[in-house]
Symmetry: C2
Subunit: 167 residues, 2 copies
C-alpha cells in the first residue's frame, strides 16, 4: 500500500500532519514515531503506574510508564530508559507483549507494550522538574480495578498481561 | 484545568490542531469529537469484527465496528447507527462498557465502547461504495485469538468484555 501523492500540511514542534492522496480519497494523517509502555512487575507482585497530567484530556490520568520512540530505536531499550527515568525501577526480565495502533483512522502511532518482571527499586530521574506520582497495584487487584483506568495503552497492556497469565 | 492561551495552528478537513499554552509549556493537541466502538454479540455467541483498510498503518486491520461522534451526539445512538450501516446488525440490549482516551499525550479523542447483546442480522448499508468484509469470532475464542488484533479500541473493548464476563 502506497499513496499516489503525499504532502506535509502542518509541521509543528511535536506533531506533523501529512495529506495523502489514495485514488479519489484524501487522508489527513498525524505522524508519530511510535511509543513504548511498560508493564513493570516487582518482587511483591505489584505493577507500577504513574499519574500523568494530560492537558488534552483536561485531567490527570493513571497510566503505565511510557515514552515516545526515537526513530529506529529498539522498543525494549526505550522501555528500560523510560521506566528508570520515571520510576527508578530497573533490572528484571524483559519481553515484548503486544503492539497496536492507538487510533489508526488518522494517526500513524504504533504502541509497543513490553513486560518487565522482577524489577528492582531505585531512584527516579524524571526529565522535567515536576514530581511524578507513582502508584502501585497488586496484580490480583487488576480485574476489579481496571474500570478506574481511562487510557487505552494502560487498559490494553494490563488486560493483555492478565489474559496471558490465565492461559 | 484551563490553558492560558489557545490558538488553532492547523485547520484541515478532518483534523485540526490547537496550540495551547500552559504556563511555560506549549502543547500541540489534535482535536477530535470522540468516537464509539461496538462489541456486538449475536444469538450464536459470536462477536462481529470488520476488516478496515487503514492508510495510516499501510495495511488492513480487524476492528470493532466504530465511527466518530457528531459533536453532542449520544454514544449509544451513534453506536446503533454505525453498527447497522457497517454490518446490518440491529436490535438487542445495549449498554456502555467503558470510555478511554486513545492517545492522551497529544490527542483529545475519547473512545466510548458500548456492548450490544442479542443483536439480529440484517442488510448493511455502508456509506462508501467499498464492500466491508465482516468476520465473526465466537466469544469463547477471544482469549486465544486476541493476539491477532492490532487496534487499541478493539483490543480494549474485547478484553474488557471478557474480563466483565468472568466477574
Amino acid at each position: 500500500m502506497k499513496p499516489d501523492a503525499a504532502e506535509t500540511v502542518y509541521d509543528g514542534e511535536l506533531i506533523s500532519v501529512t495529506l495523502e492522496r489514495w485514488g479519489e480519497h484524501a487522508r489527513e494523517i498525524v505522524e508519530h514515531p511510535g511509543a513504548v509502555a511498560v508493564v513493570a512487575i516487582d518482587h511483591d507482585g505489584c505493577v507500577t503506574l504513574v499519574l500523568q497530567r494530560r492537558e488534552a484530556a483536561r485531567r490527570t490520568l493513571l497510566e503505565l510508564p511510557a515514552g515516545a520512540l526515537e526513530y529506529g530505536e529498539d522498543p525494549l531499550a526505550c522501555g528500560r530508559r523510560e521506566l528508570r527515568e520515571e520510576t527508578g525501577l530497573h533490572g528484571g526480565r524483559w519481553r515484548e507483549l503486544a503492539r497496536f495502533y492507538t487510533t489508526p483512522g488518522f494517526c500513524r502511532e504504533l504502541m509497543h507494550v513490553v513486560v518487565a518482571e522482577d524489577v528492582e527499586r531505585g531512584d527516579a530521574a524524571p526529565e522535567s522538574a515536576e514530581q511524578i506520582e507513582v502508584v502501585r497495584w497488586h496484580v490480583s487487584e487488576l480485574p476489579d480495578r481496571i474500570g478506574e483506568l481511562e487510557d487505552a495503552k494502560t487498559l490494553t497492556g494490563l488486560l493483555l498481561y492478565v489474559n496471558d497469565s490465565r492461559k
